[in-house]
Amino acid sequence: MNNSIKYLLFVTGILLFQKSNSIAQKPTTGSLHIKNASILTITNGTIELSDLLVLDGKIAKIERNITPPAGVKTIDAFGMYLMPGIIDAHSHIGIDAVNEATSPVTAEVNVGEAIDPFDISIYRALAGGVTISHAMHGSANAIGGQCQTIKHRYGTFEPNDLKMEGAPRTIKFALGENPMRVHGEGNGIMPRTRMGVEQIFRNAFSEAQLYQKAWEDYKAGKTNMSPNYNLRMETLVDILKGNILIHCHSYRADEILMLMNVLKDFGIKKICFQHVNEGFKVAPELAKFGATASVFSDWWAYKFEVYYSTAYNAAILTKNGVVTSINSDSEDFIRHLYHQAAKTQRYGNLSDDEALKLITINPAKQLGIDHRVGSIEIGKDADLVLFRGHPLSVYAVPQKTIVDGIIRFDIDNDPADMRLLPSATEQFSDAYIERLKSSDRCMQDVFETLFSGEADYSQYLRYQYSIGKSHNHD
């Protein structure tokens, strides 16, 4: 064998040995046979007593008396309900950092670069039937960082394995008290008022348009020197082009209208408002714009901008034609989104189907992944959850949660300690009690970012108390 061929073989061998770390791997998939379940398809009614076959991570067959291929495990689901894996459109689990709170505009940062596959919250979410969550940047900034849709493939040590391949890019915007508190009150820079918040967007988008024009002129040969490459501007241009979906933390009716007007002026057509506690007051306007809404089940009164909320929000939005989902924004609530959705039956009389859509196909639409997940249809991803008890009953208990055809949570095989990387010095923390207070998790990390190193614990408590996150002070 001559030397160049040996050299080629050697290089090929090395290349084959390399794992590509920067691109998400093709995920591991599984095959399963589920027998005799009541199937809540979401988009096609309920099929009482049917089998479902999963092949290589996709839903292959839905019919009675399926004979599975050899080697495919059968789950006896008689008496159980099978529904699509629940999708949480607003979460902060599985990421190492939440708030790059250092500027009112930080479009260039991306939580997808800080994924934490060891977060036990991912497993706990699986135990609550959630297969996909939208890991979001926090709400400290008017234009925050990019978010990452993750599949709960718990068990992997490789952060990129959690990224849902093909999920559209998304970014976090924030209106109202949080950016005003962090930048106006905290740092003495705009925005301090809702007037300022509007101008942050107009400034950013206008500058992005100039940047875009400068590059187009250069590429068309009209100028000789390229403009400076600026990742923040690049990201804003992608938003203008519609290549990044905006998810905007918002509460008050007037600020929701403000942002829709800004988007209209800049030709941006798609937006999902998050929390949007006063969305019900402008439901016709939201429906007319085509905006969608991702709301809490019943949180209110922890800040002034949510004082005039109602638990009927989801129902009012749904009845007025706004695609609505219920989210958790909490590593606790992500574990019982099925119960949160059920509350809309008391607060607004939503039907079973309407309530279940809030945690399946609707959040899938809001994340741009409804062609892949969110309902039980042949060809879709096998993201499924089996319940004992109807999911909208308070007595429902998830039995098995399946992602890409692999059982990732099994109540019959659930040891107490499911950590991947145990800590030798794990300590019970009273802060766990504090975190039980229901309020949005969107201000996580802000105190650390603003004050780290300079403040002491009592200052931390006072800060937490001031943003309504603590009921103790020293």
């Binding site: 036990i120 497993y123 706990r124 135990a127 019900f280 007051k281 439901a283 007319k288 019943d298 209110w300 009164a301 922890y302 800040k303 002034f304 004082y307 005039y308 109602t310 009927y312 129902a315 009012i316 007025n320 590593e331 606790d332 119960h339 059920a342 509350k343 039956q345 909208l392 308070v394 007595y395 429902a396 208990v397 107490a416 499911m418 950590r419 145990p422 010095t425 300590q427 019970f428 923390s429 009273d430 802060a431 766990y432 009690i433 504090e434 975190r435 039980l436 207070k437 229901s438 309020s439 650390e448 614990y457 931390y460 108390y465 001031s466 943003i467 309504g468 009921h471 103790n472 002070h473």
Partner: protein, 430 residues
């Protein structure tokens, strides 16, 4: 001419009636709840009638035929429950969490038992009507903060003054020293954490000795008719607790701390209840042996440790009940105390029987607070706190149809339902 004037007067009066807003208020009266499924809590479950008169449950049974005028409430196919009791909240003590001047539950000072939550309760808190619409009629509202943050009070969710709302029980809160970390921000070393915990416990014991000393001095001064030299309200407030006449609610959560609290209480002859107890399942046998009752919750919560099974908090109350502990549930919430029945439902989903869960939010808290002669069951002579539900009160799909607190028929409207009424069909044109 006179007739036209009279007609005109009626017309004008009617016109003004129409303009004035229909403000819904609790209405007094005598009510016969007929043919509902009664969850009496002390005499089984059966289909029957309940008679409310002058704020009291006058009779419970079948085929009741009162000989005085009543308003008939047809409860066919409905379920009748005692008003639900939340054994730990800050309801009425905070309006908006992040607006500190609306928060009245945490005063400055480490040892301030004389701070009375009852004084600071806002009877017009917006969260109160929101809460009772889900069937919660009575709550313990408690101060929080330092070592002894104040005196909690049991209140019914009806009334325009705190005194009217008062339901006959006040207890003093003790936050037992915690040996755990305070959070991810806690930068102390492990040795510092242990040392601080020891110091805190020593300080508590010192405080207790001082309290006993003060109580002695006080009783001596009284018997010998000597005037006191100093005004020490904090120590004064603790005297009934030392004598076992007033209940001490000890907030403690971590496993080691629960055992430490049980040791600490031994031999002191106090009337004690443990609250919080989120790791109670770890030491349920010890708690049961002590015969001290427990108020725990919220049920729907995260496990306390990363290596705990995901349902540790859901199953906590049941596991303690199974070991023989008397358990009452709390939401420990302010604006979402309304979720109490759902927390109870979760406890059932993860082990408790439905009846036991119902007990933990009716008769058990009443017994723990020493007000079981008035609250906690559908029993003749008790205060008429009664809830009528379309179906299982734990299920979100059910609806509360009628609500009675102190025998008043309480409207189920609140600001959130009114917002629904206003905006469900908003005309986009104006």
């Amino acid at each position: 001419m006179t007739r036209s004037i009279i007609l005109l007067t009626f017309f004008v009066a009617g016109f003004f009636q129409g303009i004035s807003q229909n403000v819904l208020k609790p209405e007094a009266g005598n009510f016969l709840l007929k043919n509902g499924t009664l969850y009496t809590m002390d005499n089984g479950i059966y289909v029957g009638d309940l008679l409310i008169r002058n704020g009291i449950i006058e009779a419970v049974g079948t085929n009741l035929k009162p000989d005085f005028p009543i308003v008939l409430i047809d409860c066919t196919n409905k379920l009748i429950y005692p008003g639900l009791i939340d054994a730990g909240t800050r309801l009425g003590l905070s309006e908006i969490g992040s607006v500190s001047l609306t928060n009245d539950y945490s005063e400055i000072g480490d040892f301030i038992p004389q701070m009375k939550a009852l004084t600071a309760v806002n009877p017009n808190a917006v969260a109160i009507p929101v809460t009772r619409t889900n069937g919660v009629t009575t709550v313990l509202t408690a101060p929080s903060g330092g070592r002894v943050p104040g005196t909690a009070a049991l209140i019914d969710l009806v009334g325009y003054t705190p005194a009217q709302m008062y339901a006959g029980y006040e207890g003093i809160i003790l936050n037992f020293p915690s040996s755990g970390r305070r959070g991810s921000w806690d930068r102390r070393t492990d040795e510092e954490v242990t040392k601080d915990a020891e110091k805190a416990l020593n300080k508590l014991n010192e405080l207790w000795d001082n309290m006993k000393l003060y109580a002695n001095i006080d009783s001596t001064q009284k018997t010998q008719k000597i005037a006191a030299e100093k005004y020490l309200p904090a120590y004064q407030a603790m005297i009934p607790v030392l004598k076992g006449q007033q209940q001490l609610l000890i907030e403690v959560n971590k496993q080691e701390d629960i055992l430490a609290a049980l040791r600490w209480v031994k031999g002191k002859n106090l009337n004690v209840v443990l609250t919080g107890v989120s790791e109670g399942w770890r030491v349920a046998d010890s708690i049961a042996a002590s015969k001290i009752p427990v108020i725990t919750g919220p049920v729907v919560a995260l496990p306390s440790r990363a290596y705990d099974r995901y349902d540790a908090a859901y199953a906590n109350a049941h596991r303690m009940t199974k070991a023989g502990v008397k358990v009452a549930l709390r939401t420990n919430d302010i604006e979402n105390v309304r979720n109490l029945p759902f927390h109870a439902g979760f406890a059932v989903a993860y082990g408790m029987s439905r009846l036991e869960a119902l007990r933990s939010i009716t008769i058990h808290p009443a017994e723990i607070f020493g007000v079981a002669d008035k609250y906690g069951s559908l029993t003749k002579g008790k205060v008429a706190n009664v809830v009528i539900s379309s179906a299982d009160i734990f299920e979100p799909k059910s609806r509360i149809e009628h609500l009675f607190i102190r025998g008043l028929k309480v409207p189920l409207e609140n600001r959130q339902t009114l917002l629904y009424d206003e905006f469900i069909n908003r005309d986009p044109n104006h």
